[in-house]
Every structure is written in structure tokens, then in C-alpha cells.
């Protein structure tokens, strides 16, 4: 029984990782056709970095993910604090709305935002992308921070105040350090969601601000492009580093 479950786990992991291994291996493949092995080469990395539109899209995406993650972390943290500390009318409605954003199909969020931006006459580009990305990242940050706050000893801020700390000092020295790991985890999650999003971005982006997922989408639709393998490998390494960073932060904060 034990043997069976072990080999089953191994099999599923194998299936999950085969495509990723293929991708990485083929990114170093010299062959042009993309299916057969033609020797080791870095030519696809080279052609990737010589593609100006691609590099531009990469920077655009990084900047968008960076800002979207930051804005959603700030707003998300404030929301979580408000939900945790204050009583106010409509708290359940607010909670419900966040839940709706998280659960509603991406494509519905996409078209609803497109409708709004068109109605407002907002130019589709960086700003529309930012607003959309912050919106779909928000609930994830709120949940992460809320989870952290719920395990937090309420007597700590009381004690700090009893010892004469001002409200500001208390927030800075007690609250912020406590939710810091959650903020970072939420930020990283938002960053990844933003870098990966195709569905929402397809609808709310314009030509003035081209981003990586859409660029990849148009490349992949055209056919086999070995540059995509190289790009995928870079993205994989990048997210692995980010993921390990977040794990490290989380484990350090637990100690």
C-alpha cells in the first residue's frame, strides 16, 4: 500500500515536470525546427535579447507587475487591517465583494473592466492594465494578511500602549513587523499573478503598452518559436528565485 502510494506520487510529479524539463532542454537546442536535437546552443537567448520589441515588453511587464503588486499590497493590507480591527456597517458585503473578485471567472472580470474603461473614455494602456491587475490581486493580499492577523495576540498592541508607546510607534514597532511576512508573501503572489495574466490583459491593453504575456501569446499562436523556450526558461528561473525568497522570508519569520 505504501509502495503503491509512493509510486503514484512519483508518477504525477513526473507528469507535472516533463513539460517543464522539455522546455528548459529545448531552449538550448541549436535545431531550428524545434523537434529534433541539433546540439547545444545559446542562439535563442541571443535572438531573444536582440528582439527590441520583446525586451521592451519584458520591461513593461516587470514595471507593471512591480507597481500592481505594490499598490495591491498597500490597499490590501489596509483592507485587512480595517476588516480585522474595525467594526463597520457592510463589513460582510465588503468581504463578499472580495470573494466575488477572487472567484468570478477571469473573463467576466475582463469584460466588465473593459466596459468600464470604455465608458470612462480611459485610454487602454498602462493605467487600465494597472487598475485591472490591482483589482484581481487585491483579494489574495487581503487573505494572506488576514490569515496572519488572525493568529496574532491582541494583547501585544495593548501592552505596547500601556508601556507608553504612541499609536504611530505601536503600528511601526508592533503591527508592521507582525504582518511583514504576509505583506511580502502577498506582494510576491500579486507580482506572479500579474506577470502571468493573459485573459484580463487581452481585453484591457492597448498598443501603447505591450506586455510580455500578450507578446508570448501572439508568438505561440504563430507556431513553433524556439525563442519561447528560452523566454520560458528565464521566467522559470526568475519565479523560482522569487518563490524561494518568499519561502525563506516565511520560514525566517516563523522562528
Amino acid at each position: 500500500m505504501r509502495w503503491l502510494s509512493r509510486s503514484y506520487l512519483t508518477l504525477v510529479y513526473l507528469l507535472l515536470y516533463v513539460p517543464i524539463v522539455v522546455l528548459v532542454v529545448f531552449s538550448f537546442n541549436d535545431s531550428r525546427t524545434g523537434y529534433s536535437w541539433g546540439g547545444l546552443s545559446l542562439r535563442w537567448y541571443d535572438s531573444l535579447f536582440n528582439n527590441h520589441a520583446m525586451v521592451q515588453a519584458m520591461w513593461n511587464s516587470l514595471w507593471l507587475a512591480l507597481t500592481a503588486a505594490t499598490v495591491s499590497t498597500i490597499i490590501g493590507a489596509l483592507t485587512a487591517l480595517a476588516l480585522h480591527r474595525y467594526r463597520f456597517r457592510g463589513k460582510r458585503v465588503l468581504n463578499g465583494m472580495l470573494f466575488v473578485v477572487m472567484m468570478s471567472p477571469e473573463i467576466v472580470l475582463a469584460i466588465s473592466l473593459l466596459g468600464l474603461f470604455l465608458l470612462l473614455g480611459l485610454k487602454l494602456g498602462y493605467v487600465s492594465l494597472l487598475l485591472a491587475h490591482v483589482t484581481f490581486c487585491l483579494p489574495f493580499v487581503v487573505i494572506t494578511v488576514m490569515a496572519r492577523l488572525s493568529g496574532f495576540d491582541e494583547r501585544l498592541p495593548e501592552a505596547a500602549r500601556d508601556l507608553g508607546a504612541s499609536d504611530f510607534t505601536m503600528t511601526r514597532t508592533v503591527l508592521i513587523p507582525v504582518i511583514m511576512p504576509a505583506l511580502m508573501a502577498g506582494w510576491l503572489l500579486g507580482f506572479t499573478l500579474s506577470m502571468d495574466d493573459v485573459v484580463v490583459s487581452t481585453f484591457v491593453s492597448g498598443p501603447s503598452y505591450e506586455i510580455l504575456p500578450l507578446r508570448i501569446y501572439s508568438m505561440v499562436r504563430v507556431g513553433l518559436k524556439p525563442e519561447v523556450n528560452a523566454l520560458g526558461t528565464l521566467l522559470l528561473v526568475f519565479s523560482l528565485v522569487m518563490l524561494m525568497l518568499s519561502q525563506w522570508i516565511l520560514s525566517r519569520s516563523k522562528q
Binding site: 513539460p19 523537434y35 457592510g90 519561447v228 523556450n229 522559470l236
Partner: protein, 286 residues
Amino acid sequence: MMRSIKQQPFRAAVLVLVWGWLLFLVLAPNMLVVGASVMTRNPSTFISLPLNLDAYRQLFNPLYLDVFLHSLYMAALTTLICLLIGYPFAWALSRVEKRRQMLLIFLLIVPFWTNSLVRTYALKLILATNGLLNSALMSLGVIDEPAQLLYTEGAVIVGLVYLLLPFMILPLYSVFEDLRQDVLLASHDLGAGRLATFKNVVVPLTLPGVLAGVMLVLLPAMGLFFVPDILGGSRNLLVGNVIKNQFLDARNWPFGAAASIVLTLTMALLMFAHRLSKRRLGEEGA
């Protein structure tokens, strides 16, 4: 008391910001979609008055109903496969000793952190006629001629399962984690066989996890339009493709909006079922 007054400006600012954001970017846009779905299609301005339910009627026209049902079938099949793979997987995972469990969970979410388009593209490399799977099978002598794998419904299902499997496993894993060993032992002591224990104890206790997983898989499986685009030869296999076409190609906004509302309602129904199952479980436990 003093403190809450001192905090008032901060509190007010936070609440206004949060409420503002959600009303402006969640509630208002969704209302717009509802509005658009009851308007009339207009070739030059997208939508116009008068209000009517034509879009919904169109949706239940046999022509489109078939498309919708077929998409539902694709999504349901994806969900079922995810469940069949994920259920034993989550169970086996919860039995591994704690320290290795963390590593295994980590390995499970690494693919999730990798760009989904790129992963879909990698599947194309494997499934193509000249691709790796066909070459491997041919060199092993299993088949003589390359099989048609890419640009089929099967390829789309494989793609969806591959992208969504972690979303099924994680909630299942968490319910298996909570499934206490002594409950199973008690059931055994009371004379229940393995099958009876599974049917009467394990299944009901893990039901919320199953429903959560179904929710997290079924809906994206209907909306991820890029998977059929890449692996299905641009066929419209999902409602997502139809919705996207209505907005970005055919310019039939009321119809696209109506289709999205049906999609949202499906989600609401699932969430309701999820809550119900959780509540029932809670009552039984009490």
C-alpha cells in the same frame, strides 16, 4: 474610547479607499455587464436601446446552447479527471511524513508560478505530430505512424488538466490533513469495512474539499480561451472562446455579456453548494 476617536481619520480614509476601489472597479463594472446583456446589439455603437432579453433568448437557441453545453462537458471532463488524479494524490500526500510534505507541496506549486502560456506551449512540443511523444512511441515500436494528438479535444483536455491540477489538489490536501486518524480507527472498531469506512466516513468528511476543488477547476476550465487556441487548433471549445469572440471579433456585446452572466451564475450555484455541504457537515459534527 479616546483611541477610537483618534483613529477616526485614519479609519475613515481606509474605509473610503477600500469601498471606493471595490465599488468603482468591481460593483460598477459588473453592473455594466448586466446592463449590456439586456441591451440591443448595434453594429456601430456596440450596444443601444431598447432593453430586451434577446441575448438570453439567443443563448438558449439550440445553436448556441449546443456550444455552451459542449463547453460545460469539456470543463466537467477536465474537472473529473483532475478529481480522479487529485483525490488519491492528496490522500497519499497527506500520509507522507511532515518534513517531506513541505518539500512536496513546494514542488507542487512551482509549476503554478511558471507562466501558464509557456507551459501550454511546452505541451505543444510534446503532443505535435513530429513531437516528442510520437517520436518516443514510434521508436519504441508502439505505433508505426505518428498519432494525431495535437489540435484535438483530447489535447485541450490534457492542457486544462495540466494547468489546473494543483488547484484541485491543494484544497483536497487540506481536508485530508484534517481527517483525523482516530476517526478512521473508530469506524474500523465499530465494525465497518474499508469500503464502508470510505463511503460513510471519508467521502462525507472530504466533501467540502472536493467541492472547493471543483469550484477552482470547473470555472477556469470554461474560461481559459488560450488553451484551445494553442492546443485545439483555434476551435471554439470553451465558453471563454465564445465570449472573447463576441467582444473582440463579432461585436455582439449583449450576447457576450449574457454568456458571462450565465457563467457567473454557474459559479454562484457552485459556491452555494459548497456552503451547504460545509454547513451540513458542521451540524453533523455538533
